[in-house]
Structures are given as structure tokens and as C-alpha cells.
Amino acid sequence: MKRAHSQSRTDALLRVTLGTTAAISVAAVLAIFAFLVYFSLPVFSAEGARQVLSWDWRPLEGSFGILPMVVGSLALSTLAMVLAFPAAVLVCAFAYGVGPKWLARPVMAVINLMTGIPTIVYAFVAVLTIPPLLRELFDAGTGFALLGAAVTLAVLVMPTIVLVIDSNWRGLATRTGVVCAALGMSPAQHVFGVLVPVSRVGLLSAFVLGFGRALGDTMIALMLTGNAPLLPTSPLGSIRVLTAHIGMVLATAVGGPAHQSVFASGLILLLVTGTISVLVRRAARQEA
């Protein structure tokens, strides 16, 4: 009797602790959102919106539009994901039987190591190699461009995507693998005919996580895109993304439209990632 009592007390303590932790996390996210909205309120007055939600960033001439950066952010993370996601699926396919078995573990170990490399290291190596290479290959512009940043970013996010897919497939493959082998299917048929379609939701969440990481990365974009506030017209053109914009402008004057544009940028970033994650959760629920 006494024991049951103390058991329930432990349970209650655990519930309170976990509840508090969860509440703090949620409150932190809500607080960040509330502060961002509060600080960007002036932006969404009629005058502020006209200034910030426009296509020209020429602070010296009084234009503070961040729309080129919004498009730039989406273009960069989309291009990075176009490169990284198929690569990640292929790496997983390789590790799940399509490639030689003895190579599977070393490949996954290397991918695992890659997730631990800080983004500044990728950016630093890339800034010394990619712009000169692009200049030589294409003879167009400075070499600081959308393409170079996207390639570097793809290298950064690919391992993350692989890990999410891997954790999704690990339990699944032990069951489907035996069945498929018994049916006489090849490893490739197993991966692409069974694993991929069955794990649609898992692949989707891997994609979202990768996209969010690409969208949120600052250092690679700051060091490799050239940061010209232009609409992306060519992979070899310079662009500026929202995160890099925040990084460069935050240190400027207090107040004023340039400073406000930083909060608007943060709010837009948060809204984009928030929307995508909500959409994916909804899709996943429908699936289940």
C-alpha cells in the first residue's frame, strides 16, 4: 500500500517536472514569436510595409525592401535541397543493400561524422575554393554566387537528411528486407519499391528538417553568396538571403527602417519554417 503510494508520488513528481519543461519550451517559442511581432509592428504600419515589403534595398537612397532577400532565401534553400535530398536518398539506398555490404557501415560512419562539423568550417573551406573555381569555369562575375552557396549548403544538410531517413528505415528494413528477399526481390527493388513508398512521411520530415536547416544557415550564405540584394536570375549571380541580411544589418543604427527590416526578416523566416512544419504534420496525420 505504502509502496503504491510512493510510486504515485514519483509519478506525480515526474509529471510535474516534464510538464514544466514542456511548458517552458513552448513559452520560449511563443515569447520569441511575440517579441518578433512586437518589434516588427512598426514595419506593418502602412508606411513601414510599403518600405520593407518592396523590391529595392538601397539604404543610402531610402529604399529598405527585403523581398529580394525573401526570394533569395527560398531560392538558395530550394536549390540546396534539390542537390542534397536525392543524394541523401541514394546514400541511404546504398547503405541499405544496393551497395556492397562491407561499405555500408563505413559510409554511414563518415556521414555521421559530417553532421558534427560546424558550418563555419564548411564555409571557410568553400570560400577559399569555390569562388575561384566558379570564376575560372564560367568567367562570369565574382564567383560569389547562388550556385557555390547551394553546393556548400547541400554538403552541410545532406548528412542530417541521411540520419533522419536512416532512423526511419532502420526498424522498417529489418521486417521488409526479409520479406522482399523471400519474394526474390533485388536490394534495389526492396529500397525503391518498398522502403521509399512505405516511408513517405519519414522522407517528408527528413526533407523538412533539411530545408529548415538550409533556410536557417547564416555563415555559408554570408560568406559565399556575395550578398548583393538582387533577385536571383542565374545560378552564377549574387544574392542575399534573410539570415545573412539580419547578420549584416543588426549591428547598424538603432531604430530606423534598416533596423526594423531585421525584425521583419526574422518574422518571415519564422513564419516560413513554422508554416512548412505545420503543413507536414498535417500531411503526416492524414497519412496515419
Binding site: 539604404p59 553532421t115 565574382t142 554570408l222 549574387s238 549591428a251 547598424t252 534598416a258
Partner: protein, 302 residues
């Protein structure tokens, strides 16, 4: 699982070592630009002379942040002051001119450095700011050492940065597109160059933007078709300063007034400085500060 954990923590360790190595390397190169060994020796007798005794009565901390051009001077003075009185702790951080003004205005640091005067809207936000100009630094256009173009007129400079002249052949160089590099919005260097060298003219929107004097030097030193601008104090063999209207950008020419694209370096405080902060500022502004300012690559103001 534990093997996996082990290998990834090993990787993080290696990455950290790499980063530490990089920091070390940049630290060395900035030391090369600033105080060379023999210069430091000449500064030493002055540093050990009695003026440092004024710091003997103080204790506690002094935090300094902001303009990156100031750092060599601030660090050299801070090191000698702390050596003379080891209960003092003086920290020197960067961040840029905008950050310096913000942090001192918010009371986060005692001295906020800026490579430009405090702006009107900053004074509005922090009415108590007091500025102390202690040095002059020139800002020069820079190109790759292989670029034959080493001088341009004011009109040519403005046309290049405005995107009206787009090929080096138009200013007597090798045919090839001009790659314009500029600085970020918080840069004091950019403000001075824009105001004085470009006469507040346009900077072409296609210009690539880099976030520090160091990044500017890296970008221009690797691209034979590039042009950018930076503080004269930071110029070394990897880039060449471009003569402006026939005047070579050197600190000597900036000092005698023949090179006009110059700025003052400021220390800012919130309210009139007191105690240790006042002693520190007085030291740099006085005769004792001159060798430190000269060693940092700048021209002292009296």
C-alpha cells in the same frame, strides 16, 4: 551506439582544433599588420614609464567593444595597464562601429568604439553619449596586386562604384569585367568612403557585400578583376591601394591632408567618463597614447 558517439565526439574535437588553429592564424596575421616586434620594443620604455602610475589607485573591470580598427590600439594599452596594476581587468571586443555605439548606449560596456561620428538617430536613442576622437585613419580603394590600374580620378572612381564603368580597359587596365566589392550597412569604413571618395554617389546594387575589413582583403586579394575599399592601416602586400586623383593612399598623405578620404576613430562613453574609464581615455588622448596609436597604424589627434 557508443562507438558512434565516440567517433562523432572525436570529430567535433578535431573540428574545434581546426577552428582554434584558424583563429590562431588570423591572430598572427593581424599582429603582423599592427605592432611589429621592433615597434613594440620602442613602445616599451614609454609603457613602463610613470604615466601608468595613474592606474594604480583603481580596481575592477573596464569593458570595451565596437570598431574593429581600434582593437590593436586598445589591446596594446589594455595589456600595459593591466601589467602595471594586476587587479584591473580590461576586456576588448570587436563588433563594428554600430555595435560599439549600441553597447555603450545600453550600458553593456564602458567604452564603445566607432570608426565614425555618432549618428543623429543614435544620439536620439542614447542622449548621454559623449565622443572622444583620438586618431585619424585613411580609407582607400584596393585592387589585386596583378592589376595594372593603380590610380584613377575621382570621376572614374565614382563611375566604377556606380556601375557606369564596367570594364577595366576603360580605365587603362586589362580588358575584363570589373568586380565591385562593398561593405555591409554597419560599416564605418563604407560610410567614409561613400561620403568622401564617392561624393555620396550610388554604389551599384550588383556589388558584392562583405562583412569586415578582413573579408574585403581576402576577396580582393584572390580576384584579379576586383576593386573594393578598406582602412589604410589594414593594407598589406596582398592588395594595392589605388591612388585617388593622383594622391597615393598612405597614412603620411592622410596626415598632411593631401589624401582626403579619412575618418576619425572615436571612443564613446555614456555620460562624462569617471574613474578608471576616464583615466583610460585620458591616457590614450594624451602624449602617452601617441606611440600606441602610431603602432596601430593610425595618426594621433591632439
Amino acid at each position: 551506439m557508443s562507438a558512434r558517439f565516440h567517433s562523432s565526439s572525436l570529430m567535433i574535437l578535431m573540428a574545434l582544433l581546426l577552428v582554434v588553429g584558424l583563429l590562431g592564424a588570423t591572430g598572427c596575421s593581424s599582429a603582423d599588420e599592427g605592432v611589429s616586434a621592433e615597434e613594440a620594443e620602442t613602445a616599451e620604455p614609454i609603457a613602463e614609464a610613470s604615466p601608468l602610475d595613474v592606474f594604480a589607485e583603481f580596481e575592477g573591470e573596464l569593458d570595451i567593444a565596437g570598431g574593429t580598427a581600434h582593437i590593436p590600439v586598445m589591446e596594446a594599452v589594455a595589456a600595459d595597464v593591466m601589467e602595471s596594476n594586476d587587479v584591473l581587468l580590461i576586456t576588448v571586443a570587436g563588433g563594428g562601429s554600430g555595435v560599439g555605439v549600441q553597447q555603450v548606449g545600453e550600458g553593456l560596456v564602458e567604452i564603445g568604439n566607432a570608426g565614425r561620428a555618432v549618428k543623429g538617430e543614435e544620439l536620439e536613442a542614447y542622449p548621454g553619449l559623449v565622443s572622444f576622437a583620438f586618431a585619424v585613419d585613411g580609407v582607400a580603394a584596393v585592387v589585386h596586386p596583378d592589376n595594372p590600374v593603380t590610380e584613377v580620378t575621382a570621376e572614374q572612381m565614382q563611375a566604377i562604384f556606380a556601375g557606369e564603368i564596367t570594364d577595366w580597359a576603360e580605365v587603362g587596365g586589362n580588358a575584363g569585367e570589373i568586380h565591385v566589392f562593398t561593405r555591409d550597412e554597419s560599416s564605418g569604413t563604407r560610410e567614409v568612403f561613400w561620403e568622401k571618395a564617392l561624393a555620396e554617389g550610388d554604389i551599384v546594387v550588383e556589388a558584392n557585400v562583405v562583412a569586415s575589413n578582413g573579408a574585403m582583403k581576402t576577396a580582393v586579394s584572390e580576384d584579379a578583376q576586383a576593386i573594393g575599399f578598406m582602412g589604410i592601416g589594414g593594407i598589406d602586400d596582398s592588395v594595392v591601394g589605388v591612388s585617388y586623383d593622383g594622391v597615393v593612399p598612405t597614412q603620411d598623405n592622410a596626415k598632411d591632408g593631401s589624401y582626403m578620404v579619412t575618418r576619425k576613430l572615436y571612443m564613446n562613453t555614456l555620460g562624462e567618463p569617471e574613474g578608471l574609464t576616464k583615466a583610460f581615455i585620458d591616457f590614450i588622448m594624451g602624449a602617452e597614447g601617441v606611440p600606441y596609436i602610431v603602432d596601430g597604424g593610425y595618426i594621433p589627434i591632439f
